[in-house]
Amino acid sequence: MNTAPIDGWEGAEVYYTFADKPAVIGLLIVVGVAVCAFTIYRMAWHETHAAKRHG
């Protein structure tokens, strides 16, 4: 898989992985947000179950 948006370093400007593939960048952002949201959801789920155990 070629993730580089540049062919060489001469004249390179923006060079982060997938910089030339906006769909991939969009997907990475969506997944990043989803990962954070899911972790908060699991935190809340765990707290609710802990509360039931402790009355």
Partner: protein, 445 residues
């Protein structure tokens, strides 16, 4: 050998390019180390809040703090930096904001942009600091999930909107009203303090804090020495924070408002502010916790005009802040029955307002680059904006979380200790004294 004019011109061009490169790299290095030093603020809040908790809640308090940091880094990347660039004019979106969108060419490695990343980093640490201000007040009864949602909202949306308005060279609070707040007392401390107040109203006090007749029970933390060390680490981290408040340019230092300043000016007034606040709070309370909170009060009191105060004046302004803050906290806790576990509303919220007003009195008349000169009415009105900007979202979001049962832990969990219920580790596995023996409320109640 005689050099020709083209040779000399080429050498001059090369030297100019090298100098420009050195300036750019110096700027990156400066903000890199400011960011690193600001991590000491988080180590400090960690120690401070764990120490202020009872031992049965120590790890939960610590993890909450760390989670705020962890979630603010990505959320500030996804939306916070964009908000800062987008809204200096108020609620209309600036064209410059596209550089802050997470898919922009500026939001990752880019050989033509050596500024966006380090500024994003410094601002992210400011954001995490802002959220940490809330975290101490709500210890020992807030749900970690609810807290994390509040922290992300405060750190990646609310304060940064205030910063766009009032801590930005083109922010409307400055261009319209002449706001001057170089050390971010308004957008960070006032906003965070009053956001916290809004949350505390919905969260309610810890069990056993208040008796039926309204009298107060002290709930001491389990490790005051840890809290004192933590507060001192926060003071150390402030040097990173305030360093990050200065703009490094090839032509010299500037404030965030593009007015000239020196790092020396900040050095004078930061130290005098810390000392003044410590001495004032010690005089008022003799309490070591409040003495060190006074150090923070001192910095915040002088923060809005750190660039222009005579150091002796900064000392006295901060000394007076150290006198006032504990009294404000007493009023909130005893009269209004707001259980602020660490005094953040007084130390940050009210002191931020005090600092802004002091700048309006003692720094009025200095010119801003854009907008009217520093003036008392501008500082007062801006303080009011920050108060509302902090309080309304804090109260509103915590109210919604409360409605969904996501704000506060159950009473059984609160009595057993948040660590036992929520953390798969023990802070003090060899401790012999059961936590409930130290609590004003027994498990049977």
């Amino acid at each position: 050998m005689n050099e020709t004019t083209p040779d000399i011109e080429a050498k001059i061009a090369a030297l100019e390019a090298a100098l420009a490169n050195v300036n750019t790299m110096n700027s990156e290095i400066f903000y890199w180390w400011c960011t690193a030093l600001m991590l000491a603020i988080h180590a400090g809040f960690l120690a401070y809040e764990m120490g202020a908790s009872r031992s049965k809640n120590a790890l939960a308090s610590g993890i909450k703090n760390l989670l705020a940091f962890a979630f603010i880094v990505p959320s500030f990347y996804f939306i916070g930096w964009w908000i800062y660039l987008a809204f200096p004019a108020g609620l209309t979106i600036s064209e410059a904001s596209s550089a802050g969108l997470p898919w922009s060419a500026n939001m990752g490695p880019n050989l033509t942009d050596q500024a966006s990343g380090i500024f994003y980093a410094a601002f992210t640490l400011f954001a995490a600091t802002t959220a940490s201000i809330m975290s101490g007040s709500v210890i020992e009864r807030i749900r970690m999930s609810g807290f994390t949602i509040l922290a992300v909202f405060l750190g990646s949306v609310v304060w940064i909107l205030g910063a766009s308005w009032g801590w930005h060279p083109s922010g409307w609070l400055t261009t319209k009203w002449g706001l001057h707040d170089v050390g971010a007392a308004g957008c960070v401390h006032t906003v965070a303090g009053f956001f916290t107040l809004g949350v505390l109203i919905n969260l309610g006090p810890r069990m056993g804090r208040y008796n039926a007749d309204g009298s107060l029970n002290e709930i001491p933390g389990h490790n005051m020495p840890m809290s004192l060390i933590g507060l001192m680490l926060i003071v150390m981290g402030f040097f990173g924070f305030l360093g990050g408040c200065i703009i490094y340019t090839a032509d010299g230092w500037l404030t965030i408002y593009n007015t000239p300043v020196t790092l020396s000016a900040f050095a004078f007034n930061t130290l005098m502010g810390v000392a003044g606040g410590m001495i004032g709070a010690y005089l008022m309370t003799r309490d070591p916790f409040w003495m060190m909170s006074g150090a923070l009060v001192g910095v915040i009191s002088s923060a809005p005009a750190l660039d222009v105060y005579y150091p002796g004046l900064a000392f006295l302004i901060s000394f007076l802040g150290g006198i006032i803050a504990p009294k404000v906290n007493d009023y909130l806790v005893m009269k209004l029955k707001i259980d602020d576990a660490v005094g953040a509303v007084a130390v940050h919220g009210v002191t931020g307002v005090y600092g802004l007003i002091m700048a309006g009195i003692f720094a009025s008349g200095y010119a801003n680059i854009e907008g009217p000169e520093i003036n008392l009415m501008g500082q007062i009105m801006s303080a009011a904006v920050f108060v509302v900007l902090g309080f309304v979202p804090g109260y509103g979001l915590s109210y919604v979380l409360k409605m969904f049962g996501l704000l506060r832990v159950g009473s059984g969990v609160e009595l057993a200790g948040l660590d036992r219920a929520e953390i798969p580790a023990k802070a003090y596995p060899e401790a012999a004294v059961p936590a409930f023996e130290l609590s004003p409320v027994s498990p049977a109640e």
